[in-house]
């Protein structure tokens, strides 16, 4: 049995050719090929609707452009149009996103689908269709994804109001009129959180049923010597192996997977709609509840995204170190939990989980000391962190970083990495090739296990990550085992960063640029963010968590969109699972390390 090893790329080789930041040059290049197809507005590449697919292909294939990585698709509802926004990257160069925009009509919004160029667009376009109602011409399966077929309306449109609608923006003028509490239920006609079309008769209604999932036609299958019928089964949404309320629809031939479609939305908590009514800072605790296993890192991504729009805010040194320390501790805690669950999925019922959770609890102790909460830390602020950790923080942090965690990782690795059952179940299972990993826009350990040395901490350095010495672990095969190895190696790299950060952290108590931005004077919470749009992202334990934010210069985001790493990773689940057995699907899902709060938002 050959031993797989992850290689450490240190630091990632980033070449600087024609900088992509120069959008005008990109537009000129596009216009050479397709005259009049592209223009530039506010730093974004505006592409004519009819030409968007060939332009995307040109961007991907032209070696001088090489925009091979479609990270995020979203849309903005403007008064006169819909903008479909694509944030793309070049995986070999250090530069910000190339933002491509395609405009769609207000009355009947249709744009061409980018699935032929970037297969990873499939799920993201379905989400835009579901929540915003923009149709994608040529999409293979344009169905609802987070809501259900038959849902009344497209909720992220500005004119769509939810049942408990009170006002456009928070904080509301009066929630306690004349000192009396009025419950949301009492304001709405059905006395419940539902909106029905006027005149709707529930007794005459029939639900559209299960046709929101299309699987390949049984007759179209190539049969082997023994003819067998295919069988469609559901796994989830209540299934011990799906890591929450996630559902997979499988078509099986015998025990083999012929096709698989993820069905999600069972934990769709309307994060974006709520986020657009909240003031900017009010969203911080909501980001905790995205990837609830690594809330500190979510805070980090949101903070740096908003800080890009606040150029005057300067984060103090100590706060930068604190942020990095918290984010790296989060990574270790998350990976312990994820690997414990992965092994649990392999059949080692709860023992590895116990080992993983034991270490995680120690890290949660640190979080509880500094923020007051174990899981929902709500610790970062724009321009710093909420509080300085207490004195007891440092002895425990030192002990964990220099002594305990290293040994725990070793023990975990020894226990598992050479285990014959683990090797035979994980090696060459759920292989995702390098090309597929890029095409499907996978992120984080899943992308790196497939051999792409792409880490946001290196590719688009944020905070003070450029000061630390660490490397990026990269896999060779791209199977479940590589994803496991990459996570183990990443924990070791995080420890390396932590040792440097804890040693170098400057003293003093200045942990925030401006305390008024946290606690505020009168109406201090109503931070005004200058007009503009930004795509900010951070390397979370699960992969790159991105925030696409549009500010109209007010106290609330005009558009608040989240690029969730778990969501794009399940886009590649289908190619990983085809040909595998049902038991393999369980560990392949486990190796993706999905968290449903983030996946469904």
């Amino acid at each position: 049995m050959t031993m797989q090893k992850v290689t450490n790329v240190s630091p990632a080789p980033m070449t600087v050719a024609t900088p992509l930041k120069d959008v005008n040059a990109v537009a000129a290049k596009v216009n050479e090929q397709f005259p009049g197809a592209a223009s530039v507005d506010g730093g974004s590449l505006i592409v004519e609707r009819a030409q968007s697919v060939p332009v995307a292909r040109l961007l991907r294939d032209d070696p001088s452009l090489g925009v091979d990585y479609l990270e995020d698709i979203t849309s903005v509802d403007w008064p006169d149009r819909f903008d479909v926004v694509y944030n793309m990257y070049n995986t070999t160069r250090q530069e910000g996103p190339l933002r491509m925009k395609v405009k769609a009509d207000k009355a009947d919004p249709v744009v061409p689908s980018l699935v032929p160029v970037h297969p990873g667009a499939n799920l993201m376009e379905r989400e835009v269709y579901d929540l915003m109602g923009v149709k994608f011409d040529g999409h293979p399966n344009l169905k609802r994804v987070l809501l259900w077929e038959g849902f009344n309306g497209h909720p992220l449109r500005k004119d769509w109001k939810e049942a408990y609608f009170e006002e456009e923006k928070k904080p509301y003028d009066q929630r306690w009129p004349d000192g009396k509490l009025v419950r949301a239920e009492d304001r709405v006609p059905y006395k419940d959180n539902i909106v029905l079309p006027p005149g709707f008769d529930p007794s005459k209604y029939t639900a559209p049923g299960e046709d929101n999932v299309t699987l390949v036609d049984a007759d179209a299958l190539k049969k082997g010597e023994i003819r067998s019928d295919t069988l469609v089964i559901n796994m989830g949404p209540q299934h011990p192996s799906t890591h929450g309320v996630f559902r997979m629809r499988l078509r099986l031939e015998g025990e083999r997977i012929v096709d698989l479609q993820p069905v999600c939305g069972y934990l769709h908590r309307n994060h974006e709609k709520i986020g657009e009514r909240n003031a900017w800072l009010m969203n911080m605790p909501y980001t905790d509840r995205l990837d609830y296993v690594s809330s500190m890192a979510n805070n980090f991504a949101y903070a740096i995204a908003v800080e890009k729009l606040l150029p005057t805010v300067k984060v103090p040194e100590r706060a930068e170190y604190l942020r990095v320390i918290m984010a790296e501790f989060t990574r270790i805690a998350n990976h312990f939990f994820a690997l414990g669950q992965l092994l649990s999925d392999m059949g080692a019922f709860f023992t590895p989980m116990l080992y993983g959770i034991e270490e995680r609890e120690w890290i949660l102790d640190l979080f509880e000391m500094s923020s007051g909460a174990r899981m929902m830390c709500n610790y970062l602020r724009f321009g710093g962190v909420a509080k300085d950790p207490p004195d007891e923080f440092w002895p425990l942090a030192n002990k964990l970083v220099n002594d305990r965690l290293e040994r725990a990782i070793d023990r975990f690795d020894e226990l598992i990495a050479q285990n014959e059952i683990v090797l035979s179940r994980a090696q060459n299972v759920g292989v995702l090739s390098r090309a597929d990993a890029l095409a499907f826009g996978t992120v984080g350990p899943v992308l790196r296990a497939s051999g792409v040395p792409y880490d946001v901490r290196r590719a688009e350095p944020y905070s003070i990550y450029d000061r630390f010495d660490f490397s990026i672990p990269v896999g060779t095969v791209g199977d479940v085992y590589d994803r496991y190895l990459v996570r183990i190696a990443e924990m070791r790299e995080s420890l390396k960063i932590l040792r440097q950060a804890i040693k170098d952290i400057p003293g003093g108590q200045q942990y925030n640029a401006d305390p008024a931005m946290i606690y505020g004077g009168p109406k201090g919470w109503q931070l005004k963010v200058p007009k503009g749009e930004v795509y900010g992202r951070a390397e979370n334990p699960k992969g790159s968590l991105g925030f696409y934010l549009v500010s109209d210069g007010g106290t609330n985001p005009y558009r608040y969109h989240i690029h969730a790493p778990s969501y794009v990773n399940i886009g590649a689940l289908n190619v990983m699972c085809k040909g595998q057995t049902v038991a393999d699907v369980v560990i392949i899902t486990g190796s993706l390390d999905i968290v449903l709060g983030e996946l469904d938002r």
């Binding site: 049942a163 529930p202 949404p237 769709h268 709520i274 609830y292 034991e358 929902m376």
Partner: protein, 284 residues
């Protein structure tokens, strides 16, 4: 010591007396009552929760079952992967409309006696996501809840406390009075339907009535001349049709100042009320 066994007829008064000394003769109700203690002791110390997590709270539920907190000490560590072998459902996390039919289906599949523990703010009342269009404001709108645990998410210790509360509840129950042994008890809850929005089958008549009234109001408003102001009924129907409600008129600075003063006074009054007598003494 034992006496030889004698076979006697029913009219033998001496033997009847002997039987009544050794055998408890009581009405059936009292027999059942005396069973309660053993029955409840057995049930409360072997709770089998269904392995079922929804969101963030589920992670804390896992932590509660894991090394540091260890639910096994309370005899409830056997998480079952099927509701048919479980008697406790811990609703741990946000209940979304898309998930409600599945939760109700799981609940219906649980054998009686069954209990529901609502863990955290979301499961109890919608929590921070209450305003969301896909969020149910509390699982108790659909299934009966026995214990609520506060927190967002509750710590593992809080959840253990909830479990202890549930054990107390189980211990206090009587076989004769338990709802699932009553003749007219119908435990099954009609599974909600996903239509244009979530439809609760138990409320169909009510929903139908309100929807019809809204439609009538809209028709009346359309039939009215364009220049005329909206009728009161149309205004009432407006929120349902998706239009924002009329904003409250802006307060004048004087009104605002008066309101502020009133609020401050009320806050002050509450603080005095809440403070314990000894606190007031020590401060003064």
């Amino acid at each position: 010591m034992s006496q030889p066994i004698r076979f006697v007829g029913n009219d033998d008064e001496a033997s009847l007396e002997e039987v009544s000394q050794n055998v408890l003769v009581a009405p059936f109700d009292r027999v059942l009552d005396s069973l309660d203690g053993i029955y409840n002791w057995g049930r409360k110390n072997s709770i089998w929760p269904v392995q079922f997590g929804l969101a963030c709270c589920a992670i804390e539920m896992i932590c509660m079952a894991a090394s540091r907190f260890d639910i096994d000490r309370f005899g409830a560590g056997l998480f079952r992967a099927t509701p048919r072998q479980a008697d406790l459902m811990i609703v741990s996390g946000t209940v979304t409309k898309k998930m409600v039919p599945n939760i109700v289906r799981l609940y219906n599949q649980m054998p009686e006696p069954r209990y529901v523990l609502s863990m955290g703010a979301c499961a109890t009342g919608g929590g921070p996501f209450k305003e969301g269009y896909n969020v149910v404001s509390g699982i108790d709108r659909f299934i009966p809840v026995d214990v609520y645990v506060a927190g967002c998410p509750p710590t593992p210790q809080a959840l253990l406390n909830g479990l202890v509360e549930l054990q107390k509840l189980i211990d206090s129950q009587k076989i004769r009075e338990n709802r699932w042994y009553q003749k007219d008890y119908r435990g099954e809850i009609p599974v909600p339907v996903l239509g244009p929005d979530l439809l609760d089958q138990r409320r169909f008549d009510e929903l139908k009535k309100i929807s019809a009234a809204q439609l009538a109001a809209l028709k009346a408003a359309a039939a009215a001349p364009a220049g005329a102001a909206a009728t009161p009924s149309a205004a009432a129907a407006a929120p349902a049709a998706g239009a924002p409600p009329a904003k409250a008129p802006k307060r004048t600075p004087e009104e605002l100042a008066a309101l502020k003063a009133a609020n401050a006074a009320r806050r002050q009054a509450t603080m005095v009320d809440v403070r314990k007598p000894e606190d007031t003494e020590s401060k003064s």
